[in-house]
């Protein structure tokens, strides 16, 4: 991400209302946001050249769940940070199992989403050689 550009995020969630609301809020806060309704669509988009600064993944989705989606993306060499968004009680375990960089527990407000995404991007930028 260049300093001149707004941070970009790919929202992967099967609930259209959540995707649309999150994207509108993210854009209000200065993010550039794109969306995918399931894991397979997200994988195709990244394989086709989309390169967001951070991924925001729901866990419970038809087809690949959020963890399986991230595992597949990592296996294909996509290294951008990923934030898990879930209402699961064992959210921290799921995040650790799949190597998510951060976890947000639903219900969650936008300010917490914004700061977690920005922190994840900053940490990833700081860890690059």
């Amino acid at each position: 991400m260049s300093n001149q550009q707004a941070p970009s995020v790919l929202v992967i969630d099967d609930e259209e209302d959540i995707r649309v609301s999150l994207i509108r809020l993210l854009e209000c806060d200065g993010f550039r946001a794109s969306e995918a309704a399931d894991g397979e669509t997200a994988i195709r988009a990244l394989d086709d050249g989309l390169h967001p600064d951070v991924l925001l993944l729901d866990y419970r989705m038809p087809g690949l769940n959020g963890g399986q989606t991230l595992d597949t993306l990592r296996a294909r060499g996509h290294r951008m940070p990923a934030v898990l968004l879930t209402a699961a009680k064992d959210a921290a375990d799921i995040a650790a199992r799949h190597g998510f960089d951060a976890v947000l527990t639903k219900p969650v407000g936008p300010e917490e989403v914004f700061s977690t995404l920005r922190d994840a991007i900053a940490r990833a930028a700081g860890s690059q050689p």
Binding site: I18, L22, R60, P62, K89, K106, P107, P110
Partner: protein
């Protein structure tokens, strides 16, 4: 939500004259003040509240910190909603407040001029009617519903410059655990933030309920895994409501209307409440005491509750024939049997299948059937029967 003050406030000058007369003589003109204001003034006066000056009522700094610590979860849940209310008020002078169930202020968010005014309540101030007269926090608690007090409808003269609205917050057992209020200088601003205050109070109460479901209720082992998935789906509704609410706050702050967005948020909050009630019934260990159960409504609730589970299983649950039936059975046991039938049918179905649900009554029993679609015609995928009442 109970609306205690649905009728518009009467002419402020007539109310002001009525206030002066009440303070002087103790007499109320019922045609000049709204009924809930008359009740609030009477309670305030009977408690010995001084209309010319509020009693000293603030806690020490140490006690205030302790109070806020005790209100931990309520403060934690309400704080983002107070921030959103404050955002919606924009540049107007305002204060969004959270009080506990006794009317003690736990948190204030507002414009710097209002909240730094030494005469304005602060965290630790007691705003019960006994101490602070008729006001947005104390009167909402005393009346048990939404109230709006415009200018001289406040009992204490120092509050006459404000229009205050308050809504009690219900805890997981529906009893009030606190109150959320909004104080503004201009009545027009009060109108602009009214709907978002309703929505904030409902959504905050639902977040308290959501935490209760998550932290304190354990499902029977036989349905533990699926119950946990359904709990997550219910919380998803609340997440949607929260995001819609936050969008509405931003629209209102820009001077736009947000009626549709707030209606969408409130509809999601209603869905959350209904599904939370179904879920609680489902995970209840039951009493095995037969009781009347509106079976068709219960099945309809299950179809809504299982919407996400069906989508994850890549199946569709559809209504077929639905006859109105009142079954006589333990509601939790019946709910658990319905869940097993629905989940079993979904697990056995091929991706892309449709599952048609029917409720049919015979002379003595009601039967819920689930039929799976297929090229060779529908196949029975699940059945639940329940005795009918009478």
């Amino acid at each position: 939500m109970r609306f205690i003050s649905p009728s518009p406030a009467t002419d402020p000058e007539a109310v002001r004259a009525a206030w002066h007369e009440f303070v002087r003589s103790g007499l109320i003109h019922p045609d000049r003040v709204r009924p809930f204001i008359a009740r609030a003034w009477t309670r305030s006066s009977a408690a010995g509240c001084d209309p010319r000056q509020a009693r000293a009522n603030a806690l020490s700094a140490e006690d205030t910190i302790s109070l806020i610590r005790r209100g931990g979860r309520l403060v934690e849940v309400a704080t983002p909603f107070l921030a959103a209310l404050s955002r919606a008020a924009g540049q107007e002078r305002h204060a969004a407040m959270l009080g506990d169930a006794s009317g003690r202020v736990l948190k204030i968010v507002g414009d710097p001029q209002t909240i730094s005014d030494e005469n304005f309540p602060r965290a630790g101030s007691l705003l019960s009617e006994e101490v602070a007269g008729a006001n947005g926090i104390g009167t909402a608690l005393a009346e048990g519903g939404y109230v709006e007090l415009v200018g001289p409808e406040h009992f204490i003269e120092g509050f006459h410059v404000f229009t205050c609205q308050g809504v009690p917050l219900a805890g997981s057992d529906d009893q009030p655990v606190g109150v959320m209020s909004m104080s503004v200088r201009r009545e027009e601003t009060a109108g602009r933030v009214r709907d978002i205050l309703f929505c904030a109070s409902e959504a905050a109460a639902c977040e308290l309920l959501s935490q209760h479901l998550t932290d304190t209720i354990a499902a029977p082992a036989s349905i533990e895994q699926v119950a946990e998935k359904l709990r997550q789906d219910i919380v998803q509704r609340l997440t949607m409501a929260r995001l819609q609410f936050e969008l509405a706050a931003r629209h209102i702050a820009r001077g736009s209307t947000a009626t549709e967005t707030l209606q969408a948020a409130q509809e999601l909050v209603r869905k959350f409440r209904r599904q939370a009630a179904v879920w609680r019934n489902l995970v209840d260990h039951g009493t095995l005491a037969a009781e009347p159960v509106a079976l068709t409504d219960l099945v309809e609730d299950f179809l809504a509750l299982l919407e996400t589970e069906a989508r994850v299983a890549q199946t569709r649950l559809l209504w077929g024939r639905a006859e109105h039936c009142i079954a006589l059975e333990d509601a939790s046991a019946l709910s658990q049997r319905l869940l097993s039938a629905f989940v079993g049918a979904m697990q056995a179905a091929e991706p892309g299948s449709e599952l048609a649900v029917q409720v049919v009554r015979t002379e003595r029993v009601a039967t819920v059937t689930i039929h799976r679609s297929g090229v060779a015609g529908p196949t029975l995928a699940g059945t639940v029967t329940a005795p009918l009442i009478g």
